[in-house]
């Protein structure tokens, strides 16, 4: 009994008089700079301390035997070492490696402009797109303030680095959108069909883009739709040109959204005199529906469907009239349907599956005077991508894309059908050699049934981070595109090949909290462009585009002001279509510059903003000039203003918007129409020199509606 008691006491004594071992050392980073504030401790014990101002530490422990010494500090990788504790002092030298984080790692930046809320180092936020003056809430309008894009006022589309609008493609959730704009009307540029509010991320590439995409020789605009919303909410919009209403209901893992919109320019055209004679001002009705369901932590199913009906009737000049006085009547009825379904899931530890499909249908009923033209285009598209992460940052992706367009055209005397099957496979890897050096290597193979041709397009980029905020990027890639449908249809007996552009890009960028600076220079080589002769056509066209661009954005220098400046210099020539010589094409300008200023006056909750766009003249066709496209239009100027007033109506967040496009009413000239004998000409400019838009947007459910819980 007594013995046991003594034994117990003895054992307690052993515990309390355990030997102590001192551990000391110094902590530095890989560059030898001392790290104060790091946590040094013996794993799974309380024993440890914080390194002092010189990175030194020294503490003692009663633990014995083999233990793990751990050092942790935010922004660095955990450091661990096995040590033996046996009464003799342990000295260690700790070198902490910087943690690999997306924030600190270099990114592939050549040619890319990204707007995202989720990523930190981006040049734009989705909100920037909505609030850019002159864009009038149109994604394309905002993109046109970025370097690399040209001003082509008479037609919709993105004209990037000497490329035609057909060389720029829009993708939503990885799927090609066949009709991203409202149907073309002679000399009246159209807006994009999709509201910027649908998207959480916008990525505009002016060249050198990923192997996941193809069939765009100049540019891609990649839009990523919103995930599950945070809350159930309702939006109401009342505008000078119509009304809209949307409601999104959120359950635990599922959301359903409906949206209806009505646009009618008739009241506006009645008030403000237009340059054109309109029989029927543009009128459109839109309904869309979305379901989103979160399947797991990283998995989501999204479905979206949108239908739009629109019609208009307008007169445009008849160029066959020698006096240029007669007019032609243009009547358009359009129905457009777009639907998509996508699924993203994390399969195993490192694998992610992304698959999506879309079905779209577009029908134009056009009548020019008494001639009816009917045009239908359908597209089915699907895509599957598998990606696997390698280590912390590297990733490899591979997958395939399949497109099946079907078009039908009914002209007054005959009809033409266009059927195509396009398939592509791709593989691409982002390999981080170090967190500061990355290379993206990709390969894309495409096959077109109608051309009966296959191409292999390599893509390669390299990016090197040279400082906390600075990085250089290089990109090279081959980009193929099937000739435009109109050529394939009109010259169907001829053998065509893919048109090709090769891009070489060098980029430097600096992105810090409040300032962004980017400079990029590029060379683009065009080959195999379609040329048409009297009755034949082939791929003998070629050309080039070269230039440099600046972008500077500053949110700090001027208080409460965010501004950005873009400048693009472009030197381009090409021989294609019916061009007789290699010359500067009609859709390009040598110098383009824009200035966007956003100001906020918190006291009165007013956000005025301004956009000024300048561009030198573009070539136009003058039959009297022996030099083909030897004339230039006068310079283009456009100043747009936007005022947003933030307020609340019955506790619901409300924005009042007043927007004026081309405030100074400058008579810009985009090109000229010549009479058939060349004796008379007529300028083509903006249909209304000035455009005024007013609207009220109410968001119900976004504000703090939890007051009941706190009272």
């Amino acid at each position: 009994m007594k013995r046991l008691f003594i034994l117990l006491l003895f054992s307690i004594g052993v515990v309390s008089t355990k030997a102590q071992t001192n551990i000391s050392g110094n902590i530095v980073d890989t560059k030898g700079r001392v790290i104060p504030g790091a946590n040094v401790f013996i794993k799974d014990t309380y024993d440890g301390m914080t390194s002092d101002n010189d990175g030194n530490f020294s503490f003692s422990t009663t633990e014995t035997g083999e233990q793990v010494l751990t050092v942790s500090f935010l922004g660095f990788q955990n450091w661990e070492k096995k040590i033996i504790l046996s009464n003799t002092e342990v000295k260690v030298k700790v070198v902490l490696k910087e943690a690999i984080s997306e924030l600190k790692a270099v990114t592939i930046a050549a040619g890319a402009f990204e707007a995202s809320d989720e990523k930190k180092m981006v040049m734009l936020r989705p909100l920037d797109i909505v609030t850019t003056a002159g864009a009038a809430g149109d994604i394309y309008g905002a993109i046109q303030t970025l370097p690399g894009t040209g001003v082509v006022g008479e037609k919709e589309g993105l004209y990037v680095r000497g490329g035609d609008a057909s060389e720029a493609k829009t993708f939503i959730d990885g799927l090609l959108v066949d009709n991203p704009y409202f149907s073309s009307v002679p000399d009246v540029p159209q807006r994009g069909r999709f509201s910027p509010f649908l998207f959480k991320g916008t990525s505009f590439s002016s060249g050198g883009y990923s192997a996941q995409y193809g069939q765009a020789m100049s540019s891609t605009l990649i839009l990523e739709t919103q995930d599950l919303p945070d809350k159930t909410s309702t939006n109401i919009g009342l505008m000078s040109v119509g009304a809209s209403a949307g409601h999104t209901r959120l359950w635990k893992k599922t959301s359903v959204g409906v949206y209806v919109g009505y646009t009618n320019l008739a009241p506006y055209f009645a008030l403000v005199k237009q340059k054109r004679d309109w029989n029927r001002a543009p009128l459109s009705e839109n309904a869309s529906f979305s379901i989103r369901h979160k399947t797991s932590k990283g998995g989501i199913i999204k479905s979206f469907a949108s239908a739009t009906w629109s019609k208009l009737n307008v007169f445009f000049p008849d160029t066959t009239d020698p006096l240029l006085e007669k007019q032609k009547e243009f009547d358009l009825g359009n129905f457009n349907f777009y639907s998509s379904l996508s699924y993203k899931e994390i399969l195993f530890k490192n694998w992610t599956l992304y698959t999506a499909a879309s079905l779209s249908f577009n029908k134009d009923n056009i009548q020019i005077d008494e001639y009816p033209i009917k045009h239908e285009n359908n597209l089915f598209e699907s895509r599957l991508t598998l990606s696997r992460t390698l280590g912390e940052l590297s990733v490899i992706r591979f997958g395939g894309e399949y497109q099946k367009p079907y078009d039908k055209n009914w002209l007054p005397v005959f009809s033409l059908a266009f059927k195509e099957t396009y398939a592509a496979i791709y593989a691409e890897g982002d390999f981080y050699i170090t967190p500061k050096l990355v290379t993206r290597a990709g390969l894309r193979a495409e096959n077109s049934e109608i051309l009966n041709k296959t191409n292999i397009a390599p893509r390669l980029s390299l990016a090197l981070k040279t400082g906390a905020y600075n990085q250089f990027s290089l990109a090279y890639g081959d980009f193929y595109q099937a000739p435009q449908k109109e050529y394939l249809l009109s010259y169907s007996s001829f053998d065509f090949n893919f048109e090709k552009a090769s891009h070489y890009i060098l980029n430097f960028q600096h992105i810090s909290d409040y300032r962004t600076f980017r400079v990029e220079t590029f060379y683009k080589k065009y080959s195999d462009l379609v040329r048409t002769f009297n009755s034949t056509a082939n791929n003998s066209g070629f050309g080039y585009a070269t230039g440099f661009e600046f972008f500077y954005r500053d949110k700090k220098t001027i208080s409460k002001t965010d501004f950005w400046i873009s400048y693009s210099f472009l030197d381009t020539k090409r021989i294609f279509r019916d061009y007789q010589i290699e010359t500067m094409p009609t859709f390009s300008a040598k110098h383009t510059a824009s200035l966007v200023i956003k100001y906020f006056i918190p006291k009165i909750s007013l956000a005025p903003s301004l956009t000024y766009v300048y561009s030198t003249g573009r070539p136009y066709y003058n039959p009297n000039n022996p030099v083909f496209l030897g004339d230039r239009t006068k310079d283009y100027h456009n100043l747009s203003l936007n005022f947003s007033y933030l307020t609340s109506i019955k506790k619901n967040f409300t924005v009042l918007v007043l927007s004026i496009g081309n405030v100074l009413g400058i008579e810009n000239v985009y090109t000229y129409y010549y009479s058939s004998d060349g004796s008379r000409r007529m300028p083509v400019g903006p249909t209304p020199p000035r455009f005024i838009f007013a609207g009220v947007f109410i968001n119900i459910g976004s504000q703090a509606d939890d007051s009941d819980k706190f009272n």
Binding site: L8, G37, T70, L74, L127, D230, L646, S702, A704, D705
Partner: protein, 214 residues
């Protein structure tokens, strides 16, 4: 023999108790250090101790909670936005872990709301709308899980003070919530010595500031 079993049991009990007591004691000591911390280095020091305690007690949510608090405090005192975000992101990860150990915990949700508010302050123009909703959602949950948690009211009141009136914020909306916070702090008794007790002085200070707002 009976006696020896008794001693043995006593010893075992004390061993178990001392493990727990050691945790509570270490926490108490470090919370006192945290309570007097004002500069980033002292918050960092407190954070490190909480990290060590948490590592040795992986089932406890409080060390993670206090670590998140420390990182939020350090983040607030950083100059560069990217540094702020680095600390806030770390705090967010810690709170997710804390939440999985102790679900539906009012203190954790109040802290989440606080952290989200600080994230907004980094870039209110772009983060305001989306994160504002998230912050108010966390705050509602904090109140739902414990109606008497004064910190939930303090954080909500502060958020409302800085929120534009158009979004449902402003002086008049913030004042009653801050008044409630001060009231609830008066009656607040933490359930143990290591449960969160911070915020009373801040609540009074915010209330004063709110009253003086135009």
């Amino acid at each position: 023999m009976k006696k020896s079993i008794f001693y043995l049991l006593l010893l075992l009990a004390s061993a178990v108790y001392s493990q727990d007591a050691k945790y509570v004691q270490a926490m108490e000591k470090n919370i006192a250090i945290l309570d007097s911390a004002t500069i980033p280095a002292s918050f960092q020091n407190a954070n490190n101790t909480f990290e060590r305690i948490g590592n040795a007690n992986p089932k406890e949510w409080l060390p993670l909670y206090y670590q998140a608090y420390c990182h939020t405090m350090i983040g607030m005192r950083q100059e560069e936005n990217s540094k702020k975000d680095e600390h806030y992101d770390k705090a967010e990860i810690l709170l997710i872990s804390a939440d999985s150990l102790s679900p539906q915990n009012s203190e954790i949700f109040a802290m989440k709301a606080f952290l989200t508010g600080m994230k907004i302050s980094v870039d209110p123009m772009t983060r305001g709308q989306q994160l504002g909703m998230k912050s108010s959602m966390y705050n509602s949950q904090a109140v739902q899980y414990d109606k008497e948690n004064p910190r939930a009211y303090l954080i909500r009141g502060t958020a409302l003070m800085y929120m534009p009136a158009q979004y449902g914020g402003g002086r008049d909306n913030a004042l009653p919530v801050l008044e409630q916070s001060v009231e609830k702090f008066k009656n607040f008794k933490p359930t143990s010595s290591i449960m969160p007790h911070w915020g009373e002085a801040r609540a009074m200070q915010m209330l004063e500031q709110c009253k003086n707002m135009k």
